[in-house]
């Protein structure tokens, strides 16, 4: 029966992975940029919320509210000032630019906040310890459920935005063909900037989730980045956005089941599942490889 509990915990963990994967998938789907600083941005968000807690005693969940617009602006500026330029010179330069950004963020965080490991879980009161006991072996913590619920809301929100709003349609059009989008009056740079802004904001929610359920320190970013990648790829790189959540759930389950076998195997199990999916004919849960084994050239942000 503990296996059932593991799977359930894994699914809930998948909610967290889904959140950090969502922003990554959005940026990749719209702009074909792999943001190597994505994990670090999430951690930055966590530190900003921590700052509010430290100086003004603001509870982390409340603290998210003022931090979100700040991060939205940061993301918008990041795209317009840094990433947009690097897009011009091919696909490698955004890699270098975001790698540089990642290093800068990590080290600025260390200089500002010290390398201590922190957690915000204890400052949310009963939320962290509350749990529903279903039976002797299965229990669901309120925090995990909250994070999973947030993940579903975020994905649904982004999906609705993309399929039902005019701005969302313009984003999908630009993702498919930025050149033609300009020809029909869409400001592609503005679209890209908004995509990055939203991705950064979602990453911030992910950062808070990390800070609440676990711990963080200035160099936590790259690990979260890898999990986000794995979730996106397991779900299918060219599939709809929900693939990232599905991939996150599979990753979460793989890790918790792996931990059952041996706690040291947890993260490795995730890597193995990732590699197996990558190599498999389908290439992802929600995608289909073309005959030659190459993925569909343009990952679409579809409905």
């Amino acid at each position: 029966m503990t296996w059932v509990n593991d799977v359930i915990q894994g699914i809930l963990l998948g909610g967290y992975y889904g959140i950090i994967a969502c922003g990554l998938a959005l940026m990749f789907g719209v702009m074909r940029i792999i943001n190597l600083a994505h994990g670090d941005i999430a951690v930055l968000g966590a530190y900003l919320i921590y700052l509010l807690l430290e100086h003004w005693n603001v509870s982390p969940l409340i603290g998210l509210l003022p931090v979100l617009p700040v991060m939205l602006l940061l993301g918008y500026l990041l795209q317009r000032l840094v990433l947009q330029r690097s897009l011009r010179s091919g696909l490698l330069t955004p890699l270098l630019a975001t790698f540089g950004l990642s290093i800068v963020i990590q080290n600025v965080l260390e200089q500002t906040f010290s390398p201590d490991v922190r957690s915000l879980g204890q400052d949310t009161g009963s939320l962290v310890t509350a749990a529903w006991k279903i039976n002797s072996e299965i229990s669901i913590s309120a925090l995990s459920a909250l994070i999973f619920g947030a993940a579903v809301l975020i994905f649904a929100g982004v999906q609705l935005f993309l399929s039902r709003t005019n701005a969302g349609r313009r984003m999908r059009a630009t993702a498919e063909d930025p050149d033609t989008a300009e020809l029909v009056g869409i400001d592609s740079r503005s679209v890209y900037a908004w995509a990055t802004a939203v991705a950064v904001a979602i990453a911030t929610v992910g950062g808070l989730a990390l800070a609440l359920r676990s711990s963080f320190f200035p160099y936590s970013g790259p690990d979260q980045l890898i999990f986000a990648f794995e979730a996106v790829v397991i779900g299918g790189l060219g599939s709809s956005l929900w693939g990232a959540l599905l991939g996150g759930i599979v990753l979460g389950v793989a890790q918790t089941v792996g931990a059952q076998i041996n706690p040291e195997y947890s993260i490795l199990a995730g890597h193995i599942v990732f590699l197996v999916v990558l190599v498999s004919p389908r290439g992802g849960l929600l995608t289909l490889r073309s005959a030659r084994g190459a993925r569909r050239a343009v990952p679409t942000v579809t409905t």
Binding site: R172, E176, D177, V184, G185, I186, S188
Partner: protein, 250 residues
């Protein structure tokens, strides 16, 4: 010619001076100059690789100019990005239609709405003008036939209520029946007083609606004249570069 057009036709609508457009190091359009009056219909012909598509893209803002200027309604738009030119009234129906494959017909039309100018064309009036699209509103553009895609593409350009409409190879890959339909709908658009710059492989067809014909070869204009003035022989020679007659605007 109605009174409004008579007023406007004093100043040329589009003035291109010594425009040069490059693909990397290769000059696709070399120092081209052109003046277009409002309401004119110009057919731009020439063999593949002559520079016609690049020129249209340059006017629409999809291709940055290496040299020269483009002036529209007296405003220098050379450095203006494409989406702003749409707002000024320039719209391009690109070669190969280039619809957004994963968006529906309705969505393809509505994404163009953001920068539309005031005028009679809306998503609904476009669908009215192309009735074949009515049952296809919710269908993904990738699943449409060539003719349906072309209609959608033209409609998408019309939504912005352009004053200068650029059409690149609208008959390419279409069955003759579809080409007929496209051209007859074009005639009604032109009847409204828009300026049209039209590129088509089918010289005969393009000539039927054009006031002026320009022939391009290797990035330059090699022949230019009113439709009635030019003979078939002249056009054919210019098209193939046989005589390299002193072209206008080279």
């Amino acid at each position: 010619m109605n009174a409004a057009r008579a007023e406007q036709s004093a100043e040329p609508q589009l003035v291109i001076e010594q425009l040069t457009l490059r693909h990397g190091l290769l000059e696709a359009v070399r120092g081209v100059s052109l003046t277009v009056r409002e309401g004119e219909t110009i057919a731009l012909v020439g063999a593949n690789g002559a520079g016609k598509t690049t020129l249209l893209r340059g006017i629409a803002g999809a291709h940055r100019a290496s040299a020269g200027t483009i002036t529209f309604d007296g405003v220098d738009v050379t450095k203006l990005p494409g989406h702003r030119r749409v707002g000024m009234g320039i719209a391009l129906v690109p070669e190969g239609r280039r619809l957004f494959a994963n968006l529906t017909v309705e969505e393809n039309l509505s994404v163009a709405v953001q920068r539309r100018r005031p005028g009679r064309w809306t998503v609904d009036s476009v669908i009215e003008a192309f009735p074949m699209l009515q049952p296809l509103r919710a269908q993904r553009a990738a699943t449409l036939s060539g003719g349906e895609q072309q209609a959608t593409a033209i409609g998408r350009a019309l939504i912005s209520n352009p004053r200068l409409l650029l059409l690149d190879e609208v008959s390419l890959g279409l069955a003759p029946v579809a080409v007929e339909a496209v051209y007859s709908s074009l005639k009604s658009v032109i009847g409204e007083g828009s300026t049209v710059l039209l590129v088509d492989q089918d010289i005969t067809r393009a000539a039927t609606i054009a006031d002026r014909i320009i022939c391009m070869l290797e990035g330059r204009f090699v022949l230019e004249g009113a439709r009635d003035e030019l003979t078939r022989e002249q056009i054919t020679e210019a098209y193939f570069g046989l005589h390299r007659s002193a072209g206008v605007g080279a």
